[in-house]
């Protein structure tokens, strides 16, 4: 079982004792990762930010139930991901369809760019991740971006090992496909 860092343990204990400054430090430490994971599911930054805020409020309210037998980050990410999937259910795909159509407009005519800047590269990669299934985008980010092991991903998401392996493989293929659709031969600049 993974161990909590001393930093996390101290902040969690102080937060449990009612120290809101300690909780603020926890939020600052994990807010960006949480947003990235929520966005993998929701495909919309504003919605994802709402989900992360809701998740952090849940974490604050349930902090006394956290027993430190698992990593704080694992516990937090599980709450963030569950909150994001619940919000996704509420949205019933309507919003997602709007976002996808907006993305299509945004990318039109940009495939001719010869030299992609760092910012453009980030934009296209995130657009490609927004166009693949939430489970695939989530697993890709957990595995390659945050370098979690398959066992840790299983603990965070509740998915089976075989699903994680299949989604990793399909996710890579689908992401490449989406990048090719947007960039054509320019994809070589990214790889």
């Amino acid at each position: 079982m993974s161990q909590n860092s001393a930093f996390d343990i101290e902040l969690v204990n102080r937060s449990k004792a009612g120290d809101t400054l300690a909780f603020r430090d926890l939020v600052n430490a994990y807010k960006d990762v949480s947003l990235t994971l929520a966005c993998s599911v929701l495909k919309d930054t504003d919605l994802a930010q709402d989900a992360v805020q809701t998740a952090f409020i849940k974490v604050y309210e349930k902090l006394n139930t956290f027993r430190q037998d698992s990593k704080f980050s694992t516990w937090l990410y599980r709450i963030v991901i569950n909150t994001a999937y619940n919000l996704l259910k509420q949205q019933k795909n309507h919003h997602q369809m709007d976002v996808l159509s907006n993305l299509a407009v945004e990318t039109d005519g940009k495939s001719e760019a010869k030299a992609l800047t760092e910012q453009e590269q980030r934009k296209y990669i995130n657009l490609a991740l927004n166009r693949i299934r939430p489970d695939e985008a989530l697993i890709l980010r957990l595995f390659y971006l945050y370098e979690h092991t398959i066992i840790e991903i299983k603990e965070i998401t509740g998915f089976s090992k075989s699903k994680i392996k299949v989604d990793l493989h399909r996710g890579r293929e689908n992401m490449e496909l989406q990048l090719q659709k947007m960039l054509g031969n320019e994809i070589t600049q990214l790889l």
Binding site: K31, L35, T36, Q53, E61
Partner: protein
């Protein structure tokens, strides 16, 4: 796309929250914390139990103890016991009413 290429690409996919994210979250948490503060007030059950006990003891005292010695001291000489009991009981009921009013008024104020 191989594993290494995927890793290079995915490393560029991290997102950042807006600058006011933490402040706005902490405002919500502070607001929730205020709503969760309990008034420094004993529970209705406890207050009622104490009052009942006091009434029973007062009644026992009033009706069972011989107050002749008090009559001699002219403290409760001219007061009828039943009338005195009625006045005490009425005062106690008035007190209970006040306590309950205060309790629910505090509860309502803090939850809104």
């Amino acid at each position: 796309m191989n594993e290494d290429q995927a890793k290079v690409l995915l490393k560029k996919s991290a997102l950042k929250t807006t600058e006011d994210f933490t402040d706005s979250l902490m405002v919500q948490i502070d607001a929730k914390s205020i709503n969760h503060i309990q008034p420094g007030f004993p529970s209705v059950k406890r207050v009622l139990s104490i009052i009942t006990l006091v009434v029973v003891l007062a009644s026992a005292l009033l009706f069972c103890v011989d107050f002749k010695f008090l009559s001699e001291l002219e403290i409760v000489g001219g007061v009828h016991r039943t009338k005195l009991f009625a006045v005490v009981l009425f005062s106690v009921l008035l007190g209970i009413n006040h306590v309950l009013k205060l309790h629910y008024s505090l509860k309502y104020t803090l939850s809104n």
